[in-house]
Amino acid sequence: MKPIFTKTKGLTDRPFHYCPGCTHGIIHRLIGELLEEMNLIEKTIGVAPVGCSGFCENYFACDMIGAAHGRAVAVATGAKRARPDRFVFTYQGDGDGASIGLAETISAAARGERITSIFVNNAIYGMTGGQMAPTSLIGQKTSTSPYGRDAETMGFPLDLPKILTQVEGAVYVASVSVDSPQGIKEAKKALRRAFQVQLDGLGYSFVSILSTCPTNWGVNPVEALEWLQTKMKPHFALGELKVPTIEGGDAV
């Protein structure tokens, strides 16, 4: 029989600790596949965040560094500047990248660090039990917005990829979603381009991925896909928001 789909060597054999239906696993797999397909496993230094994906160093087959809350991009910067020959990526949640580590993210983007950030947005703090995130939607009930997020007192959800399009050193910015097989294929395409941007030394590349949190959203995994599609997608800019240009303004 011809294998159509088998496990990538870019991931270890360790089973994921994520809740049933959590789409972190899909994103891990896409990254693992690309590390293998692009022949990067032995050349990569990944940086893990704090949050649900804070143990992801156990899953990726490459060398990994565990960062502190929000500091993954700074750690990645330090590693990349020390070893410019290595492929360096960060894997971060929305709290990590858009709240406690917002300054690090935007500053690394402004410097055009040759690193790739994968930003997983599930509109909630999953690891700690479902508190409000910088990306939580207006009206969304979380354990720290029990009556729903209201803009008056808690402000508005932050669309980080949209902001990053305004930062010169951020060369590739995409916002994708892993809520369907088609979406997953597009997400992989975006990640591949982001990786290539780094390999080509063009600047900072950033891929935001809308992801689910069935447990803390209080829905089953299939309902979670629908919640993502109907509630989250309308609130966040989607697609390849910024692509590198060559002289003459054409996309490469």
Binding site: A61, I65, G66, R81, A103
Partner: protein
């Protein structure tokens, strides 16, 4: 040939000579000559200077470079050092070798730019969370800043531990003649633990957490053993006029220099006093102090703070002799004559010279 150099610049040059090719930092007075020197010189030696967006980012950039196995340094001053405390705790747990310079200035708060030693607690007791210690070196001359900086990278690599060079604003800003003699380093193990890309070997993870309390305890015990080892092997101090001393001052850095002059004044009056100068603030040189306990009739801690090191001194003296204190704060420094007067008042029962 001797060069006349500022302490901050001498530290930066010594670091480069020790093989440090990465400096991540954020400028803050009175440590700014360190990043400035690095910005100028790193390029020439094929290294990297990077100005971080904050001290928080800077210390984690240090983490990244240390985790991939490279020699790396940052330098800052007290408020910036405060911002780095979270990172220091993480770097300790991840066992990242690195060198941090704290050129202390007045506090608390934004404080002033004058010299102080009021970061002593933060430096030696661990300003971040958890049970940890950095090796803390306290030079008292520009030459010693060079010698200790060169050695600090070996110490960091040897123990996979943080090494902090603690000076005050005066030492950072002061020019003194210095020489850069060749440095014979320690024999060091290859960094096979580093997360530098898993070419031809199993993958490495460099992390700072543990999943279970059992593992948490065993890791803490292992780190504790490492700290005991450093405590045993790395205590350092320098003595001045201690051989026949009846009374002894304990002081480090600039206050030790001031105290030396006070000792000269007292010696001219025939009073037998000496100086015990800790060179390592952590590990505190307990062994050297203990060896003098039977000899010394009274101790006195001289600090540019409200009295922080005196707590460590009292733990060692343990009631065997009186312990006096004199200090200035907020960026002021005592005159040697002030030290003399305080000594006479506190330890000679108010006898005026």
């Amino acid at each position: 040939m001797a060069l006349l150099m500022k302490g901050n610049e001498a530290i930066a040059e010594a670091a480069i000579q020790a093989g440090c090719r990465l400096f991540y930092g954020y400028p803050i007075t009175p440590s700014t000559e360190i990043p400035e020197y690095m910005a100028k010189k790193m390029k020439a030696v094929g290294g990297t200077y990077l100005q971080a967006e904050s001290e928080v980012a800077a210390i984690y950039m240090v983490y990244g470079a240390g985790a991939v196995g490279e020699r790396v340094m940052t330098g800052t001053s007290s408020p910036g050092f405060s911002l780095m405390q979270e990172g220091l705790s993480f770097l300790f747990a991840a066992e990242i070798p690195c060198v941090i310079v704290d050129v202390m200035r007045g506090g608390p708060g934004l404080g002033g730019l004058g010299p102080t030693q009021a970061d002593y607690f933060q430096l030696t007791k661990g300003g971040g969370h958890g049970d940890y210690h950095a090796i803390v070196l306290a030079p008292s001359s520009v030459q010693e800043m060079v010698d200790l900086t060169k050695e600090s990278f070996d110490l960091a690599d040897c123990y996979r531990n943080l090494v902090i060079i603690a000076v005050d604003g005066i030492l950072g800003q002061m020019m003194e003649p210095v020489e850069f003699p060749p440095f014979k380093g320690r024999k060091l193990e290859p960094k096979d633990w580093a997360a530098s890309g898993a070419e031809g070997r199993p993958k490495n993870n460099v992390i700072s957490y543990y999943l279970t309390p059992e593992l948490g305890e065993s890791e803490n015990i292992r780190w504790g053993d490492k700290m005991s080892m450093m405590k045993e092997a790395e205590q350092r101090f320098v003595e001045y006029e201690m051989e026949d001393a009846d009374y002894a001052f304990v002081a480090f850095g600039t206050s030790a220099r001031i105290t030396e002059t006070a000792i000269d004044i007292l010696r001219e009056e025939g009073i037998k006093v000496g100086l015990f100068r800790p060179v390592t603030l952590w590990p505190f040189p307990e062994k050297g102090l203990t060896a003098r306990l039977d000899q010394i009739k009274g101790w006195m801690s001289i600090e540019l703070s409200a009295g922080q090191m005196i707590e460590d001194l009292k733990l060692v003296v343990n009631g065997k002799a009186p312990v006096g204190f004199h200090g200035r704060m907020g960026g002021m420094t005592p005159e040697p004559e002030d030290v003399v007067t305080a000594f006479k008042e506190q330890l000679l029962g108010g006898v005026q010279g």
